[in-house]
Amino acid sequence: MSAGSPAPADRDRLAAEHVIGLLEGDERREAERLAETDPGFQSALAAWQARFAELDDTAAPIPASGALWSRIEAGLDAERTAPAPLIVPSPASAFTALWRSLSFWRTAGLAGAFATLLLGFGVGLLANRAAREPVVIAVLLTGQNQPAAVVNAFADGRAELTPLAGFQIPAGRALEVWAIPGPNQNPISVGVVSEARSLALDLARLPGIRPDHTIAISVEPPGGSPTGLPTGDVILTGRATTAL
């Protein structure tokens, strides 16, 4: 499974050339994507930054003016008064509480769980069709830029993953869905899937899926990552964006 992650040697070259500033165009975009989604690439970047860091100390300092600080402060204020990004509220229904409950998963079979899930969706559909219009969407692409899944976040605070034709789960493994709130931020697990079926995402640790979040899917042991961070290859990634 190397769709979303280049081979280690190529990944290291990409990290090195990104750090010395030589990547342009597609390769630079690829490196920026991996820098947000791929823990292996992040460590390669950190190692290369550390190797070259001493060169930054050789730059002759230029006195930093108070005027520059004033402009920075003005920038902070402008940032604070800018309109807040659209936030999809977290779900708080009994259904999602049940969905999140570990003991529920330990006692219920997957088939039963999915029946519950589908029933939940059916009830939701009848109850509030408008709430089912996605407000934020992420199309997840393979390393070959083939769409393989879609994440829809709804106005009522729920979010779900819908697998597409290219969605493949390696035998004996599970796929874990991660939301990455921004560059240099740790991925937050929002669900584990072991069958190519729709999955309601767990937004307990996230204030909803927001535009510009990166969604990534990694290959993990059954049940999900033992460490709380991606441990296997990242095979699908996509950037969340506002649905019009």
Binding site: D12, A59, L68, I72
Partner: protein, 189 residues
């Protein structure tokens, strides 16, 4: 003398870690402390890449606004605070260099694009610590290849600009860089 020495040495990494932790909580005085400690050096790094003070200030400005927004995402386990800060700065400066101000910059170049650098990149090597692995390993590279790596990192030259400056085909330059980076990694391991 001890007092003066204490002022001259850059703040310990833990101070910067601590400052970033407070920045993440919205402490503007902590951001100012980071500015006081690092902004001069950051301007120097950005000016080597961007050649112009106004652009260097823009890069430092944008970096501090990003630090303010993203300090919560800084994870000390993944690397030092200083490395994190300079990675943001270099990335921003390179975006300015390669992106929106590209055409603007070209006007500054001499007709052949061979503007003389402000200083020989070898001068940067001379200022590296004699005991550090980076200096020892850079010095083991063939001089022209070392120059290519330094011009890329320090002055932000692209593959194409390096090939032009050093008078070799683009493919040769790419291969030089690739092999030099592998050699550096092995040497510094």
């Amino acid at each position: 003398m001890q007092g003066a020495l204490g002022k001259l040495t850059s703040p310990a990494a833990t101070d910067l870690n601590d400052a970033l932790r407070r920045v993440a909580q919205g402490d503007r005085a902590a951001l100012r402390a980071v500015y006081d400690a690092e902004a001069s050096r950051m301007l120097g790094v950005a000016a080597r890449l961007l050649r112009r003070r106004a652009l260097a200030e823009e890069a430092v400005h944008d970096t501090f606004v990003q630090v303010w927004q993203k300090a919560a995402g800084f994870d000390p386990a993944r690397g030092g605070a200083r490395a994190w800060l300079y990675a943001i700065l270099r990335n921003r400066a390179l975006n300015i260099l390669r992106g929106e101000n590209r055409t603007d910059l070209v006007e500054d170049f001499e007709p052949m694009g061979l503007e003389a650098p402000e200083e020989d990149p070898e001068a940067a090597v001379l200022r590296l610590s004699d005991t550090g692995a980076l200096k020892r390993c850079l010095e083991r590279l063939e001089p022209v290849r070392r120059k290519a790596v330094l011009l890329a990192y320090v002055e932000g030259l692209s593959h194409g600009e390096l090939a032009g400056r050093l008078g070799v085909p683009l493919g040769t330059m790419k291969s030089w860089i690739r092999r030099s980076l592998i050699a550096l990694k092995e040497c510094m391991a």
